[in-house]
Structures are given as structure tokens and as C-alpha cells.
Point group: C2
């Protein structure tokens, strides 16, 4: 585990080895993580869980302390746990101009510090966030509605992985060029021309993070850390319903920055009340030159079209699709898919929505199953998965907001329900609105208008097609047009898998094949799986790849004649020939 | 030198070592080039110059052959040498839809070939372009008006350098991740979860190159090669006045592509007649997903605002600025600066325009020189430089188009001329309109409207300021607002140089310091100097850096359970801890 307590300010030296491992891991794409995902005492310590819970409960009902933070008054975003109680936490009230100005003023020393120092500070922030994983897990659970273990893993170590991954890319891309070079060009007559050159990575400007309600840290950390490490201050604009996880993050970042001798306003929290539209104001601020956004397609498209002074990275929504052709493990397929639909009650940008099945059926180890039979089997698998109340409580999530509830109602009104969404009672949280997935039975030809919209939440469609070939065509065409963050295929035929891979490349989406065990299409592991793709309309960025970081800085150059007193190396006879 | 004749289709193997050298050189940023810049017989062979001239003259007045190229009829863009004769060359007429469709149809095999093959083919194209440098030099001279040696160097080897640099970045960024990985995640109970993963770089879509009149190859090759190597077909839309250099390039690329077994329509020429606006139509085509543009700020801004479906790389124009504070080599300073203004008659996007001088003067080894005296000294240096007709002919260029002439007229009408632009007669080319630089004397406070516009061509201003501090402020503020492709400073004070470096970082522009010898501010060497910067309004891209290539492709992933019969490696006891 990373060192959890600071012993001095030499963060770059302390974390250099980890950073190098992270860069190598991102290239190799095998399994790698420095942040253990298990919320166990043997890993995080005997008292960690209790301390985290206490820290969370002590915070409920109080003002959140951010020493030295801009803002002269407090505001409350009105956060409320989806498990049924108000958080009543107040945060600094900071208008867009004040937030941006404070962030911008912090830049020069951060720019001059260089990429090694910036990356070292960032890894220290992540180490301390890791140590706070239980507190963050509580904050994530009670703002997003995720079940606890998921809130711990996705909101804690997995989010930290994604943050470290972004740090690694950002650091490596800034180190692609030497800091100083002596350029010596041989001349036909006389000595060479000799210049000394310097190369300085310079951030693009103030970076804005517009975070989402469901995965505030997991989706937020990549942009936050990529911008910070490339020399940009970050204004964090959380969703009004999920401020606390990012407030803890901002506090931690500011503590480390101050310890390292930097202006803590390099990371500023700009919380807003529900109904305020400060994200739009912030995104159009002329000094905001980078935007990272996770959320609705509507606002993501608006940002892309309007925040023209900025580089805009969006992760929006799409039509996550599963192509079902054949399987030699029908039970495994159903169990895996049922879990994918049930996890966090389908409130993931990666939850499958459109399940494409030939009407005449798919070949399985249990015989041919028609589309209707498959839909019934999937419904039964969901019933089985969620029969045990404890398991259901640990898998499903509480409904995060009214939009999800409304879509569930509209989906039921389609009148095509195969499996209805039900409410699960949680004894500990009687007010929590925990729902099971709804499955409806549609047709590829006649229900296009329905399934080419995104139904974020526990709503999925078994869609009958003419054939697997037809399914692949629907998959490719709908994802090209409307985007997707995930796609999957089940087939025992190498030819079908190859065709699915080709369709996925043409649609611009990552593909999971024949998942029947303990890996699910809606999970992606940092350092190995890419999340999202700029190659389809659901996103304009990938978490993380070089493209996610290169637009955040420029390498600026100065050059001057080398001092005459320091003789240059002997010129080569001829320019290098190949 | 690169191998100039094909011996078989294994271009990747043939060019692998050169590619690796190029990637290393781009990181080290020392002097490096595989393409000799000297147009000498000892380098390029006894007959190369004559063969190139013959090839050019044979082409004049005839249709340009592009076997298998789309287009059913011919058109003539009406190219005319600025040295005074018509080229009368006809090219295929291809509408935007046909050009894009042909290019798009060529994609699948090119995508499947992978980055090694694509880079190998690209380097072979460059090797053959290098062998055609004399023909290209003639074509560049007689479309741009550059003097011959410059046309050879900038249009030939230096452009090839910039092309290879883009190939190197594009190849390296696609190789950042393994092609295949086995992901094995230990579980608390039971064996590990094991997946096999594949990672495929996929091009973004059809790429459009909108090239300029003055440096069609030097400014065009980076985008052309970066897109091609990242898996994208390229539609080349030359400026109507400078088609031939890119037509030769397209022909060469198509020959190599066909030899390597690919559809030559991966590179398509879309020439237009003067006054046609096909660039705009092409840029808005939904299948065009990448645009590279060099040219006017007006059209560059239009592209950035309107070609929303594409990643747009622009190199526009700005206020190239020189801050004059002090020097210990006044004669060297004047000679160097005079050459920078005279080269190609100032028709470079890198030619200095605004020369900021304290009114009270600068300290020099020849005493203090006031702003007025400096202006007179610069005028005298220009007169001296251009006194010898042969040297003047080899330094200046022919006026490339009417816009340059109009700006010269308007500059003269300012009534502030210190040195008038004159016409130089070339005995060989009596109709050539070759002009010397105009220098006018302005003031920082009262002439802001004049010097904050770009005067592309041989027009420069000696601008009086209150002090060097004032000069630096004007430099920073005007470049931040209006952009610049180059900046320079002259000072004997380390403090002033440091302040200038800081101002340049804040303005987002590369800085040259105290150039008094054989290196000029308007020159930049591939593999060592960055050209342009996305950090100021004059450009949205740098030639070349990782950001120039990463947006051109996405790495798409597929994953599936590892085969059971192939046992995975033993799981580690615990996840890796750092």
C-alpha cells in the first residue's frame, strides 16, 4: 500500500517508483492496482471502517471545513441520502468568477514546479484518499445510492486507480521530450551552428470538472488529476446531489498542496444549489480552457457546442448493447447478464440496455431458446439472483433521483413488460427506494423509436431480430448513430465473434465477449480496460489514454546560442543518414 | 540516405530502424535529419537536378496523370508561376462527395494492416518524395514564388523531415499499448479471473488536408502523414495556386500504396478552381472527421467554429514579435533580423512583424540606438543585404498573390515608411514581381489598431515603447489576444531574458533569444523545434507533438475469457502493493 502519512514534502521522490510502475502497467494492460479493493480489516486496519463511518456521521448536519477556501458565506445543496435521510451539509458559496480567479492566481508556481513535482503531489493526494476510503465510501453510498461494498470499491480504490492512471499518462506525456537540449548543426564551412534549447510543459488554463450524481469520484478523478498534473488548476463543480465525496477529495488535495508549499486554490470547490446553472456559466468563462463532464447527453452536447474556448471531454450516454447468438453456458450467460442489469439497479452508464436476440432463437447448451423464451429465462434469472434479501440489498442500489423513477414508470407504460420492476424493502433503511430491473420485450423493426433512446436506470429491452447478422447490423448502426459505452456478444462461433469485433470497431465501441463468470460488461479495470471511446457519440474521451491528457498542455520552447566559452562537441562529418 | 528504389513490399522491415531513430530523435530534440538539405550533386546524384527540371517542364501544359484516381473529367486550377509563366496543368475533377466516398471505401484493409505496416508504407512514400526533391523544388518555386534553394530545402528535405516527424509521433502513440494482453486478477477464493484482451488503434475517419499557397508541402505533410499512419484516408485539397507540389506528393503516395497492396484512394487529390469553395463543403462532410488547415485566420476560425464533427488542426496567422532590449553584437542583430524580414520577401507565417523598441533606445556595442536610429539602421542593413542582385534574388521571393501586393500598398499609405518596398528585376524572369521589405515606424500607444492586425508579406513595424518592460507587456498582451507563430528577444541581461521567457510562456509562444548568426527566428528544424503552439490563437496545433496525433485515432478493445485448456499463470497471493 502507498504510504499513508506524510513524512515530509518530498512527494516526487517518495512516489517515483509507483509512478514508473503505473506508466508501465498502462502500457502492458495486465491486472495491476496499488489500491486494494477489499474493504477488509487486514488491509485497511482494524478501525478503518469505524473511523470512516464516524467521520461521515460527524459531518452530517455541519458545515464542511475547507481552510483558506474562497467564498464568504455558506450554502447547502440539499444533499439527501437515497437511503432515506438528509445530509444537511453546508459548503462555501463561491461564484464562478471568484472560483476561476482564485484558481488562476495559483498557477505560476505550479507551472514552474514541473511535471515531476506535480505528479508526486498528485500521487500523495491519491495515497491520502486511499487512506480515507471508508469515509469516502460512506459519502458515496449516501449521495449515489450505491450499496456499501460497491460504494467502497468504485468510489474508493477503483476511483483512485483511475486517478493514478490519469496521473501516469499525464506525467509520461509531459516527459516525452527532454527538458533541455543542445542542438548542433554541422555546416559545410566553419563550425556548427549551436543552440541551447529549453522545453517547458505549460497548462492550458483553468480546468472545470462537472461531475455526475452516480459516480462522482470514479468519473471525476481522471479529469481532475490529468489537469492538475499537466499544470492546470481545477474548479470542481459537483452535482448538487453528490457534493460530499468530492468535497472530501478537494479537502485532501488542498491539504497536500499546502504542505508541498503550493496555493491550495489550485483545487477549488464550486458547489451549487439544485436548479442553479453554474456549470454553464463556469464552462463559458473565458479563462476556463478545459472541461471534463460526465452526465446527460443533452448537457454534454451543449458543452461541446458552446464551450468553444475550452477542450471539452464528455462522457454522456448511449445504447449499451448485447448481441446474443449462441452459448455453451446458458446458465452462466443468464447469471452474468442478470447481475449486470441488477448491479446498482442499472444506474450505471455501462449497464446493458438493448439485448438483441434472433426471434427464432439462439443455440444454447440447453437447446434453442427463442427470443420470448430468452426474455422469460432472463426474468427468472433476475428473480433468482434477487431472491435472497441480503444479496439483493448488496447488489441493487437506491434510486438516485426522480429521473430514474420517471423512466421506470414510462417503461412500464410501454405495455411490453416481461419482468416488472419491484421495490425491495431494506430493514435498516425503510425509506430507501430500491428497485429491481424491468425487462421489456421489443422488436427491432417496429420499436426502433423506443430502443434508440437511452433509458438510464433499471430498464432493459429484449429485442427480437431476424438473425444474428441483423442483430450485428442493428448494433453497428444504432451505436454509430447514438453511441454506447459498452457492448457485448455471446457466441460459440469464431466467425460470429470476428464479425462482432469488426462491427464494434466500425461502431467505435469496446466489446466484451462470452462473459459468463465473475467479470461483468459494466465493469472496467483501470490500467487494463479503456472506459468509453471518443469513436462514438456517447463520449468524446476515453478514460484514460494519451488523447485524454495531451490537449491539456503545450510544450513551449526557448532557444538561444550556446555560450561561446563552452565549446560544442565536434560536428559530425555529415548529417545522419539512414 | 533512405533507400530510394523499392526492392519489394516489406516497407515496415526496411524502414523500422529509421522509424526508431526518428522516435528517439523527437524525444532528444538534438539536430537530426535523414534527408540531406543540400541540393548538391554529391548528395542527390549527378543528374538529379536536371532530371527534376525536365520532369517539371515536361509537366507544364499537360494533364497530370493519377492512375485509378476518381473523377471523370479534368479541370485546371489556373496555376501560374509567380516568376511569370502559366503552368497550364489539368487535374482530375472530383466533387467532395466522390472524393470522400472513394477515400472512405479504402479504409478497412488499411485499418486492419496495423500501425507498423502503415508507418512503413509512409516512410517509403517519404523516401520516394526525397528522391523527387528536385522535381518538387521546381514545383514549389513555380507555385509559391520561393527562390530555388529555399524551394528545394523547405519544399523538399525539410518538408520530408516534418512528415517523418509526424509519422514517428503517430507510430509511437499507437504503440503505447500492447496489442494483446492477458489479464489475470487474483480472487480471495478460487482461481483468478482471466481474460484475453486485444487493443486495436482505429482511425477517426476521412481526413481533409486544406493546404496553403506558400508552403504546400512543409505545412501539409505533417497532417497528411499523421492521419495516414493513424489509419485515416486523406483527401488533399490544395490551394488553387499551388496544386502541383501536392499532386506529385499524392501520385507518389498512391504508387507506394498500390505497390504495398492497398487501395491508392487512401490518398485522393481534390483540386479546385480559384473561387470554388470546396474546402468548406469538404470540411462539413459528415464523414470528414479530421481537418488540417494552414492559411488565413478567417477561414481557420470558420473551420474551428463550423466543422464540429471533426478534430480541427489549424495554423493561421498572428503577430510575430521581436522585443529589442540590448545587444553586444548590434551588427549581427541587424544582419540576422534583416535576413529574417527579407527571406521569401516576408511571405512566411513566421516572419517578424512587430519590432518593439524603447523610444529612448537600446544599449548596443555601438552605443545607445534610439528607436528612430534602430529603424534607420535596420533599413540600411536591408539595403546592404539586398545590394547584390544575385544574393537578393536568392533571398527574396516573388509575390505569391494579389493579397500581398494589396497589403504592401496599404502599408505604404500609412505614411510612416522608413524603408520603402522596391521591386527587384530578375534577368531570367523579367515578369516576376519580387519585392523587398517595407519597414514603417509606429508607436505602441497610438498605432495599436495598425500593429495588432497581421500584415502577411514584406511589411514590418518598428514600434516605439516606453521601456523594455512596456515592450514585454505589449508582447504578452497582443500575442495572447491575437496569437503569434514566432517571437524573439535581444538582450544582454539575464533578468530581461528570464522575464521574456516568462512572458512567452504566458503568451503561449516559442521564443528565440539573441539570434545574431546563422539561425533565424523564422526557421524551425523538425525533431528539435516545435512549430506553432495550440497555446495562442495563431494555431490550434503544434508541428508536431503528441497532441497533433492522439486525436486522430482511438484504441478500441475487445476482451474474452481465456481458453480453459491453456492454464493461466499462477495467481499472485495478493494484488500488487506499492
Amino acid at each position: 500500500m502507498p504510504q499513508l502519512s506524510p513524512q515530509g514534502p518530498d512527494f516526487p521522490a517518495r512516489h517515483r517508483a509507483l509512478l514508473e510502475q503505473a506508466v508501465a502497467a498502462a502500457g502492458r494492460r495486465e491486472h495491476w492496482t496499488p489500491y486494494p479493493e477489499s474493504p477488509s480489516k487486514s488491509v485497511y486496519g482494524e478501525d478503518a471502517a469505524k473511523l470512516g463511518e464516524t467521520a461521515f456521521h460527524d459531518q452530517v448536519g455541519r458545515a464542511f471545513e475547507l481552510p483558506g477556501h474562497p467564498g464568504e458565506s455558506l450554502m447547502s445543496p440539499g444533499e439527501r441520502s437515497p437511503y432515506g435521510f438528509p445530509l444537511d451539509i453546508a459548503y462555501p458559496r463561491v461564484g464562478p468568477d471568484a472560483a476561476v480567479a482564485a484558481a488562476k492566481a495559483a498557477v505560476p508556481a505550479w507551472r514552474d514546479a514541473g511535471p515531476d513535482v506535480r505528479a508526486g503531489v498528485a500521487v500523495e493526494i491519491l495515497a491520502r484518499l486511499n487512506a480515507s476510503s471508508f469515509e469516502i465510501a460512506q459519502a458515496v453510498q449516501h449521495t449515489t445510492g450505491q450499496p456499501f461494498v460497491m460504494a467502497f470499491q468504485a468510489g474508493g480504490p477503483h476511483a483512485q486507480d483511475r486517478g493514478l492512471e490519469a496521473v501516469a499518462y499525464a506525467w509520461a506525456e509531459q516527459k516525452r521530450h527532454v527538458e533541455r537540449a543542445r542542438w548542433s548543426k554541422p555546416q559545410r564551412r566553419g563550425g556548427p551552428l549551436v543552440l541551447d534549447k529549453r522545453f517547458t510543459p505549460v497548462g492550458r488554463g483553468v480546468s472545470l470538472l462537472v461531475a455526475c450524481n452516480t459516480f462522482p469520484t470514479w468519473n471525476g478523478y481522471p479529469g481532475l488529476f490529468a489537469s492538475l498534473v499537466t499544470g492546470n488548476p481545477v474548479v470542481v463543480k459537483p452535482h448538487a446531489g453528490a457534493v460530499l465525496p468530492l468535497a472530501i477529495t478537494v479537502r485532501t488535495a488542498r491539504e497536500v498542496l499546502a504542505e508541498a508549499g503550493f496555493d491550495p486554490n489550485l483545487v477549488v470547490l464550486a458547489a451549487e444549489e439544485p436548479g442553479e446553472r453554474t456549470a454553464a456559466d463556469l464552462a463559458l468563462h473565458p479563462d476556463v480552457r478545459i472541461v471534463d463532464f460526465t452526465g446527460s447527453t443533452e448537457f454534454g452536447d451543449w458543452l461541446e457546442a458552446n464551450a468553444r474556448q475550452a477542450v471539452v471531454h464528455t462522457e454522456k450516454a448511449g445504447l449499451n448493447t448485447v448481441v446474443l447468438d449462441s452459448t455453451d453456458d446458458y446458465r452462466g450467460l443468464l447469471g452474468n447478464l442478470a447481475f449486470s442489469l441488477a448491479l446498482y439497479s442499472g444506474q450505471m452508464c455501462t449497464t446493458p440496455q438493448n439485448l438483441l436476440v434472433p426471434r427464432a432463437g439462439i443455440d444454447t447448451d440447453q437447446g434453442t431458446r427463442t427470443a420470448d423464451e430468452f426474455a422469460a429465462d432472463l426474468a427468472a434469472a433476475l428473480d433468482g439472483l434477487l431472491a435472497d434479501p441480503a444479496r439483493a440489498a448488496g447488489t441493487l442500489g437506491a434510486v438516485v433521483n426522480a429521473g430514474v423513477r420517471e423512466r421506470l414508470t414510462r417503461a412500464a407504460e410501454l405495455g411490453r413488460t416481461v419482468r416488472a420492476s419491484t421495490r425491495i424493502a431494506l430493514p435498516e433503511h425503510p425509506e430507501a427506494d430500491v428497485r429491481t430491473p424491468l425487462v421489456a420485450r421489443l422488436d427491432a423493426d417496429t420499436d426502433r423509436d423506443t430502443y434508440t433512446r437511452e433509458w438510464f436506470g433499471p430498464v432493459s429491452f429484449v429485442i427480437g431480430t431476424d438473425s444474428t447478422e441483423h442483430s450485428l447490423r442493428v448494433f453497428r448502426d444504432t451505436v454509430r448513430a447514438h453511441g454506447a459505452l459498452t457492448a457485448a456478444v455471446h457466441s460459440t462461433s469464431e466467425a460470429v465473434l470476428a464479425a462482432a469485433e469488426r462491427s464494434a470497431l466500425e461502431a467505435g465501441v469496446h466489446l466484451s465477449e462470452n462473459l459468463t463468470g465473475g467479470v461483468f460488461v459494466n465493469q472496467s479495470a483501470a490500467f487494463s480496460d479503456f472506459h468509453g471511446s471518443a469513436a462514438n457519440p456517447a463520449a468524446s474521451a476515453t478514460l484514460s489514454d494519451p488523447a485524454f491528457v495531451t490537449g491539456r498542455f503545450a510544450t513551449l520552447q526557448s532557444r538561444r546560442p550556446a555560450p561561446a566559452e563552452e565549446p560544442a562537441e565536434e560536428p559530425a562529418e555529415e548529417p545522419v543518414d539512414a
